[in-house]
Amino acid sequence: MTQWQPVILWTDGLAWFGIALMLILLFASRAQMRAGWQRLWQHPLAVVSMLILLCYGSIGLLDSLHYRVRLPTINKRVQYSVTVYSVLDALLTPLRTHNETSYAAPLARRAFSATPERHAGGEVVEVRKPLQLGGHTPPHARMELALRGALYGGITGIGLLLAIVFIIRTFAARTTAPEQHVAPDPEPKFSWPKFSWPKFPWPKFPWPKFPWRSFSLTLLFLSMLIGSTIELAGNFHVFGTNEIGQDVLYDSIKSVRTGLMMGCLATLVTLPLAVGLGLAAGYFGGWVDDLVQYIYTTLNAIPSVLLIAATVLLMQGFIETHPAMFDSTASRSDIRLLFLCVILGMTNWTGLCRILRGETLKLRELDYVQAARAFGVPSWRILWQHLLPNLSHLILISLVMDFSGLVLAEAVLSYIGVGVDPSTHSWGNMINAARLELSREPVIWWPLMAAFIGMFTLVLAANLFADAVREAFDPLAKR
């Protein structure tokens, strides 16, 4: 008998499905995109931001594997708990369970505000009580813990790097063609003796000019950072606690999933609409084209925030009037997240659709498409085999560029009150709650800071990556 039962929420399933779909599409158009990938992976910023995005992505995916714990059997009936946990929750158990009574500053040992306490003599004294987590750790331990964590993390990082290099060299190198000979740069006449990095047998495959230095430095930095955070988080509240004493770091890490879901699922909705309608409009022309153009101009005309707000309000009404359809709070907030993503996707496809329509109009007239037509290749096959792979770079660029905007939109929508469910962990909800704390005296700044760091890092990485993708794949971009 297992002690737990897997639960697949709607967003979980769709997220995994989306990843699979993405990989299939990328694989299908690999020939057309090869040069682009080559260019992309020689761009140091692309590699660095990809590593950061991978960190976020793995947090989000760990948080998308949900399960329920089995309860003690009563009358031989197997029962499972109502609360749904994710694998990430299990990993972060100490953060989740050590709740304080109220605010605590980052890495503090005592509570933020004093509580009155009666002494043995009868006098009442204001005391700042020691915290559950951190209250019993000696004060000098912080530095020690951070350094030890960094050391452990660093060692893990180096191990990981060596493992990656080893794997690529042993498995990938065999299948590759003989190395291309690159002509050495002509030597300058005089140069100061330059510091050169020690030579290391970096693999030349799959991308000959892979920026290994940036890659390894970022990997090392990230693993040291994660290492010391883990060490510290076991003994302190790294980002303090919020008003009801929950760990802010936990809140911020849990928000990663919401942010990523916004970006990924909305994209998943955008993709079929934009690609289907854009290709159809461009290829068939005539009344199809008119209709598609009419649809997207109409949708574009409506202010998107208003459209989103209106639909979310309607959906709220629907959930309120049909409570029986959603059995638990988890599934209710999950449906709300899913619905929000769908709406964001519905308002977001017009841009990509317009681009694809224009490009298809151009491609349609090219000789190879005309030849395929003359041979009597059916339309769907021309669209799928001849047009779509040659548009895939545009799709990729547009999707990557839209991602950060969707993450940012979540916060704004939560502020207006049409965002994710208030019970969902999200940066928008964190900002919303933290807004008034700034006007307190003394200032409570850490929840806002945690949300800012979490969101800013993700969006910055996504933006930098998007820039690199555009530079690598867009034939018109400046290189």
Partner: protein, 325 residues
């Protein structure tokens, strides 16, 4: 020319009709007036009479498209679609849920909205163009790369943080300006200063990068090479030739959003407590006032379409190669 512009203006009508029909479907067919009434009266404790009463008092007690109880053309006109949706074409927006005339409210609130949006737009345009020109001037150097990275970093900060941060530092810590509020008239300058500054700063990242790429595109063109070959110095090329030609896409893009300035900014206005249209929308959404949301959707779409139309005009006016016919 005039015939072309009139025809373009007529194109807007079917689109506006589509918007109208779409919002009508969303607000009356997906969510029936019954549901709206139930939401307002509380989901649990509500009886049928109370719902009918609410619908009657708010004018929702009509059929959707076809009224069987009327005669002749009234079968089509005495319906929700005509009363609540088509009437917006005549700028009759009806009453909001708290009984105020929406059209009057909008007229009153447009002023405060504009007093922030317009200066922020103009100052922002100037700032972004100057910064972009600065980057182009130092192009391909370290300063340019650092500038672009700063722009990307500025873009990556949520608008909420700009507002919260600016309010906290400038209004709360330094106490230069009041944190929020608004008074009509000239005295409002103290209240609009901070929102304008924050809107400008929040837009720098995006604008600077966008305009930089426009100018860079211009600088690679043939006429610049000709100008260089003539022996013109770099500053003259940049400020006379590139700036002027780069202004074509910038200005036409600006014209497209000009009408939308009336709508104000949702976040800025509601954070600073400015009684404009942006905060009107936020309030309406938070109090689930669908009548106001519908009216604002209609106005927003109409303004967007006017923006498109103005862009057409602007293209023909600025760029003599484009002929309107």
């Amino acid at each position: 020319m005039i015939r072309y512009l009139l025809r373009r203006l007529l194109y807007a009508v079917p689109i506006l009709l589509g918007v109208n029909l779409l919002t009508f479907c969303l607000f009356f067919m997906v969510n029936t007036p019954d549901d709206i009434a139930r939401m307002h009266l509380g989901v649990k404790h509500v009886n049928h009479a109370a719902i009918l009463n609410w619908e009657h008092s708010h004018g929702y007690d009509l059929p959707l498209f076809y009224n069987r109880h009327e005669t002749s053309w009234h079968t089509l006109t005495d319906t929700l679609f005509v009363h609540k949706s088509l009437s917006m074409f005549t700028l009759h927006f009806g009453l909001s849920d708290d009984g105020r005339d929406i059209a009057r409210e909008i007229r009153q609130r447009a002023g405060p909205s504009l007093s922030i949006a317009l200066p922020a737009f103009i100052i922002g345009l100037g700032t972004n163009i100057s910064l972009a020109l600065m980057l182009v001037w130092m192009r391909a150097g370290l300063a340019d790369r650092v500038g672009v990275i700063i722009a990307v970093a500025l873009m990556s900060v949520s608008g909420l943080f700009y507002i919260i941060g600016g309010q906290f530092v400038i209004a709360h810590l330094w106490r230069w300006v009041p944190i929020s509020g608004f008074v009509p008239g000239v005295d409002s300058w103290r209240f609009v200063l901070l929102p304008i500054a924050i809107s400008v700063i929040a837009g720098i990242g995006n604008g600077m990068r966008w305009y930089r790429s426009i100018f860079l595109e211009e600088i690679g063109k043939d006429y610049v090479r000709t100008a260089r070959a003539k022996g013109l110095d770099e500053s003259r090329i940049l400020f006379r030739h590139v700036l002027k030609n780069g202004m074509i896409p910038i200005l036409t893009g600006a014209v497209a959003v000009l009408p939308l300035l009336f709508m104000g900014s949702l976040l800025t206005e509601s954070f600073f407590g400015i009684p404009g249209l942006g905060s009107y929308v936020v309030d309406a959404i938070q109090s689930q006032d669908f009548a106001v949301v519908r009216a604002m959707v209609f106005i927003g779409s109409a303004l967007y379409l006017i923006g498109l139309w103005l862009t057409d005009i602007a293209y023909g006016w600025v760029d003599p190669r484009v002929r309107l016919s």
